[in-house]
């Protein structure tokens, strides 16, 4: 956008414009161009969010394939399909990909796409930072998988315990790749977290007081706070690891005053909240789907919000239960048993409120609800086995066995992936404008449900029968063969169910039934606009009168007027009451975020080989950031 036509534009407001005129002008102001540069410069939260979602699912496929490979290896005892070297890389890639490149990013992706829509605003706060964080995430993921293809795949586990991951026992660049990939993904995750928090705090539609914020948004808000307070821990840890490996520091070297448990403390101080960073957004999806298909507002909104916050706080008091077998003082350990079990209470409150909602509701059994019901079946098992591993003495037996593998797959796949797939079926119409096939959807659900349980339930038994985790094979005499074979078969069924999902998505994109604005007759604001939403989201900013605005106003949606239609403006309001304060201008598209991401990626890459890369890399980074923030004389900049 050059200065000349920027100044040429008058400051017209939406107050008295007709719908056609309004649409034309807002589209011209907010659209993303079709050229390559324009596409790469896009700062539209929907465009970036869509890229985020697709990329995250690509990494889900890669992580899933590595899991299938491992299950094939473990199907029979002493199989020679994969050697230990490749197997260790595979299980490291699986864990790293699923945690850092799929689970967290996909939740953030849905937040990036949906939160502004649910809040009735036109873009996320700091949209350029949003674009930047996507690019950094993409580069980080490509970096990790490219290294794997080059046989430089990390092989010390997604937890990279020192000293195994240290300079003496992990020669070469494998672990450096892992540690630097952490930096990539954490930078992007932290940036997105801040965008979401500010969007929720400042850009809610007028009238959306705290008690009218949708539960989905609440969950994303809590997730963002968890990210802000948890992820610095793993960045500090991975930086220390890189320094140990690159410039010979001694953070983790007992011989020189370091301590290998320091790594575990730092890693799990992040690692346990990480689980809730993944699970809490899923509860938001569950709430949205339950309200829409039980046909009534959520029972106990306030208790649900409070328990979300309680879970957030408690999740920082549990990390030591990953370290019960390291010989810590007994009393301290038992304190963490108490806190770990206590977190069952707020989670219980959530379950009970959802049940109460279904109890009084009129459930409509569409695919999204099926996945939520599957979530109940599976997640409750995972939660209860969590109570078992939280006990110090029991953990001494099941820790680092397949029992734990079963436990956290029940929690993460049951607790996060099932709601996520439900969310895909639920919001696909909004994102693409077309419905997904219900028939394929039902097949998808039942295969996933059966496949998952067949794959992971036997692992509980294998664990108590003494099968440790992270083994590339096992002796025939151990008698673990049959259950492992069963588990592998289940993994294949689960895999097929995801193939069905992919087919359903692809076919529905072109041949799906047209959705219309609000196919499920849901109550929240994202359903008030067209499907797919126009670049400007809402032709006029809604005025919120109820927790389920669309159920409250079925004829005419109350709106606020007076925003400019020729420059990008969003309404910014007070923290609690969302009372309008500013016509905040929202940044225009820019290529600089991409350039900055490239500069940052180059710096991270170089710093694997020499510490000086940080010094030299800071120059292009500084240049690109300056180019990013330097005003271009557009109305958005000058107001």
């Amino acid at each position: 956008m050059t200065v000349s036509d920027a100044t040429a534009r008058d400051d017209l407001r939406d107050t008295h414009l007709g719908d056609a005129e309004l649409h034309a002008r807002l589209t011209r102001t907010w659209r993303t161009g079709s050229g390559w540069i324009e596409r790469l410069s896009s700062v539209d939260h929907k465009v970036v969010g869509r890229r985020y979602i697709i990329t995250a699912f690509v990494f889900l496929c890669l992580g899933g394939l590595s899991a299938v490979a491992m299950r094939l290896q473990l199907a029979r005892p002493e199989a020679k399909l994969l050697g230990p070297d490749l197997y260790n890389q595979l299980f490291t890639m699986h864990g790293t990909t699923m945690m850092f490149l799929f689970a967290v990013p996909v939740m953030e992706a849905f937040a990036v796409y949906l939160v502004p829509l649910m809040l009735g605003t036109r873009n996320i706060a700091f949209p350029r930072l949003n674009a930047f964080s996507y690019w950094v995430y993409l580069f980080g993921g490509i970096f990790l998988w490219a290294s794997f293809m080059l046989k430089i795949g990390p092989d010390a586990g997604w937890f990279a315990y020192v000293p195994l991951s240290g300079p003496d026992y992990s020669p070469g660049k494998r672990v450096d790749v892992w540690a630097q990939m952490i930096t990539f993904t954490e930078v992007s995750a932290l940036a997105v977290a801040i965008e979401i928090i500010v969007t929720v705090f400042k850009q809610r539609a007028p009238g959306m007081t705290l008690d009218r914020i949708p539960l989905f948004v609440w969950s994303m808000l809590v997730m963002s706070f968890l990210i802000i307070f948890a992820m610095p821990a793993v960045m500090v840890a991975s930086t220390m690891l890189i320094l140990d490996r690159l410039v010979g520091t001694h953070f983790f070297n007992p011989a020189e005053g370091g301590d290998s448990l320091l790594w575990q403390h730092l890693f799990w101080f992040f690692g346990h909240p990480e689980v809730y960073i993944i699970f809490i957004p899923a509860t938001g999806m569950v709430s949205s789907i339950i309200v829409a298909f039980a046909r009534r507002p959520m029972f106990g909104q306030l208790p649900l919000v409070l328990s979300l916050i309680a879970v957030g706080f408690l999740s920082f008091g549990l990390w030591v239960h990953h370290m019960f077998t390291t010989g810590l003082p007994q009393l301290g350990a038992s304190f963490f048993t108490a806190s770990s079990m206590l977190i069952a209470v707020p989670n219980g409150i959530q379950i009970f409120c959802w049940l109460a909602t279904l109890w009084d509701g009129r459930p409509v059994f569409k695919t999204p609800l099926l996945f939520v019901l599957g979530f109940f079946f599976i997640f409750v098992i995972g939660g209860l086995s969590g109570v078992m591993v939280a006990s110090v003495p029991l953990d001494a037996q099941v820790h680092d066995t397949y029992f734990v593998v079963a436990h956290f797959h029940y929690v993460l796949i049951g607790g996060a992936v099932f709601p996520l797939i439900g969310a895909v079926y639920f919001w696909f119409p909004k994102i693409t404008g077309r419905m997904m096939s219900e028939r394929l959807g039902k097949w998808n659900f039942w295969l996933a449900f059966v496949g998952f349980n067949v794959a992971f339930f036997p692992m509980h038994i294998l664990g108590v029968q003494g099968m440790p985790r992270r083994v590339y094979t096992y002796l025939p005499e151990m008698g673990w063969g049959p259950l492992n074979l069963l588990s592998s078969a289940g993994a294949l069924i689960l895999f097929i169910s995801f193939v069905l999902l992919l087919i359903n998505v692809i076919t529905s994109l072109s041949r799906g039934r047209l959705a219309g604005d609000n196919p499920w007759d849901a109550g929240t604001l994202e359903w008030a606009t067209t499907s797919p939403p126009a670049p400007y989201n809402f032709s006029r900013i809604p005025f919120v009168t109820h927790r389920e605005p669309l159920w409250d106003n079925r004829e005419r949606l109350p709106v606020v007027t007076g925003l400019s239609v020729d420059s990008r403006e969003v309404v910014s309001g007070t923290l609690t009451e969302a009372y309008p304060e500013l016509r905040e201008s929202s940044p225009e598209p820019s290529i600089w975020p991409l350039l900055a991401a490239i500069a940052v990626a180059g710096t991270f890459l170089g710093s694997i080989f020499t510490p000086w890369a940080v010094v030299w890399g800071s120059i292009p980074v500084a240049i690109t950031l300056t180019g990013w923030f330097w005003p271009k004389g557009t109305p958005e900049d000058e107001k």
Partner: protein, 185 residues
């Protein structure tokens, strides 16, 4: 579009895949049998210094981080420090200085380990498998500061007399890996 880009990039990198991170666990028995014939360098280096030999793939060991780190383990395990004191030198010559009586090329070092040298260096022919000899030789090269810093280790998990091989000073140009340049002090 992102996806295509990603996959394309991965594919290109795959084609360009380098072997430096390859970790051969099972040494080739054939290679083990036919030891590369390297004559002993003359005991008194003489004016031209020792002859430096070039050989096949084993010369590449010093480019592979895995081999260098294996060599480092074996150097400790086989008690090379008994005489060479972590490279500092004791009853045996130092391995971190610029003096390479029998040549600083990896082939010469491997030969010294395999065949032994006068005045105390025993022959490990038959006692140490061939590929391990080359791994140790690669590590000795690292001690001499000959291998690139992204291959050698940055520090040790135990207390060591010297810092990690990756950060040892490179040899002065006088004794860079050129035939006939190594002069005894």
């Amino acid at each position: 579009m992102k996806r295509e880009l990603t996959i394309a990039l991965l594919f290109v990198l795959l084609l360009a895949g380098c072997e430096r991170e390859d970790r051969p666990l099972r040494s080739d028995p054939v290679l083990n049998e036919n030891r590369e014939a390297i004559a002993l360098a003359t005991n008194s280096p003489g004016p031209t210094g020792p002859v430096e030999y070039k050989s096949g793939t084993r010369g590449e060991y010093e480019k592979v981080a895995f081999h260098v780190s294996q060599g480092k383990k074996l150097f400790t395990w086989y008690n090379c420090s008994g005489c060479h004191a972590n490279g500092g030198g004791g009853s045996g010559p130092a391995l971190m200085d610029d003096v390479w009586i029998y040549g600083s090329a990896i082939e010469n070092i491997a030969a010294s380990i395999r065949e032994g040298r006068p005045n105390g260096m025993p022959s490990f022919r038959g006692k140490v498998p061939e590929d391990q000899i080359w791994q140790i030789a690669a590590y000795v090269r690292a001690l001499g500061g000959f291998v690139s810093s992204d291959v050698a280790s940055s520090r040790h998990d135990q207390i060591y007399a010297h810092e990690g091989e990756a950060r040892l000073p490179s040899p002065s140009p006088r004794t860079s890996n050129q035939p006939g340049l190594a002069q005894p002090k």
